[in-house]
């Protein structure tokens, strides 16, 4: 059933499918100067892409269509979450592939290069997963409760602005005099303590994702269409 839901959601967002091809370009345009930023940017962009089924549901009354089918409301929620997790994996893979490209661009244009190594990359992936689950917790339950039209301000725009600001603040902090090595130190620490840092981040992420899922399930089961 989950596959059917994902396939139908995918077909419903026919007009938005092309955006998927634009995600790598967008990621490079935003984070070309910092190879390590590729994964979180790609994960963030992919998560945003997974919100498209919500964007089309109001216009084409997708929820109403689903509720005429012999399926449970839970199937609809499951489909959206699994699609979002697939997009998370796509984002991670895309980020890992784009890292060397960003590194090369950074080398040419900024005369600086940086490579995280295997352990460092795992730490970045774990941190990106945490960012994904926090963003997911902000967006999915609200969109399941109110739909895209009513929920987009609280469920998409505000979290996006918040994370954008967070991103900007982080870059400002690591760019301040004296903090040049901060990022490297963080990655080195995470690399050396891979189980504690990456494992801990992953565990927190799983808990947050579970909370988000259960909340969405509860809110969607009570929603009137």
């Amino acid at each position: 059933m989950i596959t059917k839901m994902i396939v139908t959601d995918w077909r419903a967002m026919k007009v938005y499918q092309i955006r998927l091809l634009m995600l790598p370009l967008l990621a490079i345009a935003i984070g070309w100067f910092s190879p390590w930023a590729m994964i979180p940017i790609c994960v963030f962009a992919s998560h945003n892409f997974s919100l498209n089924p919500f964007a089309v549901e109001d216009k084409g009354a997708l929820n109403n269509l689903y509720l005429t089918f012999p399926i449970k409301r839970q199937d609809i929620v499951n489909g959206r979450y699994i699609f979002s997790l697939i997009m998370l994996v796509c984002g991670i893979v895309m980020g890992v592939i784009l890292m060397p490209l960003a590194n090369a661009l950074s080398k040419i244009l900024l005369k600086s290069a940086w490579y995280a190594g295997f352990n460092g990359t795992i730490a970045i992936i774990a941190a990106s997963f945490l960012l994904y689950t926090i963003f997911n917790l902000f967006t999915f339950p609200i969109l399941f409760k109110f739909g895209y039209t009513k929920g987009k301000v609280w469920g998409i725009y505000l979290p996006a602005i918040f994370f954008g600001l967070l991103f900007a603040v982080y870059f400002t902090v690591i760019s301040l005099p004296g903090n040049e090595l901060l990022q490297l130190k963080l990655i080195s620490y995470a690399s050396e303590n891979i189980i504690m840092v990456s494992g801990g981040l992953t565990l927190i992420s799983i808990v947050l994702l579970l909370v988000s899922y259960l909340l969405s399930l509860r809110l969607y089961s009570k929603r009137d269409f």
Partner: protein, 284 residues
């Protein structure tokens, strides 16, 4: 007699509307018209039946099973006044989706209907006229061997020719045994042609549930000149309207005695019954 639909004490409360513990049943094999003015609760009832809206109380049984049993939707053909298809979908896209969810989806029947309704399988939904959109919706509802069609205002927004065509399609559908249609509308002239059974809802309450003929035979229109209404009869006339030339209204046929022979009695249509009941606000 088996019931296609059995609703008991169904309740839903909104800020400005109450569906007030309604109960009715629709026997299998009937075309049932669900009538009532705009805002009476027709769509809410249909959505409650489909679990699109969560009930505050009561029970719904469809084809002998609780509406919470999702498998009943295999046997339902659902069509609202605007089919729920994505604007960029073509009839072929619609088929791909429906085929995923209905075990009894019949592609041959679907394409036969597309041809019969003159629908281009590659034309996008958003470019279809309202009538064509409804036909596409009907093609879907008729292509998975549904035992019960739940239609919400399917003829609203259609011209008379298209409406007549739609009714023909429903007549064809009813040829097979054990099929039922539950048809909400405020265009009661459509029901005069096709319905056997009527559920009448008014301000969230069921005011009539039974055979159409029993309802239309129960009332007649009455017209007369000034002074033709005996004082004692005045209260029996529903929706009484008096004017310079005389009066008009509707009356229960069992109450027609006692009027002077000059009054004119005429058969009441469903439209007349709805209009006069609304004016009077009484239960039938």
């Amino acid at each position: 007699m088996n019931n296609a639909i059995k609703i008991s004490n169904l309740k839903k409360e909104y800020k400005n509307f109450l569906l007030d513990s309604i109960s009715f049943s629709v026997p299998s094999g009937y075309v049932c018209g669900f009538i009532g003015e705009n805002g009476a609760g027709k769509t809410t009832t249909l959505k409650l039946m489909l679990n699109m809206v969560i009930k505050d109380g009561g029970d719904v049984e469809i084809l002998g099973r609780s509406h919470n049993d999702i498998s009943i939707k295999e046997d339902l053909g659902v069509l609202f006044d605007q089919p729920y298809f994505q604007e960029d979908w073509t009839a072929l896209d619609v088929e791909k989706t429906m085929g995923l969810f209905y075990k009894k989806w019949n592609s041959k029947v679907y394409h036969m209907h597309l041809e019969k309704f003159d629908l281009n399988p590659k034309q996008k939904f958003k470019t279809l006229s309202q009538g064509m959109k409804m036909k596409l919706g009907l093609a879907v509802t008729l292509s998975h061997d549904a035992k019960l069609l739940l239609l919400d205002e399917p003829t609203s927004g259609l011209d008379p020719v298209m409406r007549d065509e739609m009714l023909d399609i429903l007549r064809d559908y009813m040829i097979e045994e054990n099929r039922s249609v539950f048809f909400s509308t405020h265009i009661t002239s459509d029901l005069e042609k096709i319905a056997d059974y009527i559920i009448y809802i008014h301000k969230g309450k069921i005011v009539y549930s039974g055979l159409k003929d029993e309802l239309t035979e129960k009332y007649c229109l009455i017209r007369g000149g000034n002074g033709d209404i005996p004082q004692i009869k005045r209260k029996q006339i529903l929706g009484l309207r008096e004017h310079l030339g005389g009066f008009e209204g509707m009356i229960d046929v069992s109450d027609v005695g006692g009027f002077p022979s000059s009054v004119i009695l005429e058969t009441a249509s469903l439209d007349d019954i709805m209009v006069h009941m609304n004016k009077k606000g009484l239960e039938i």
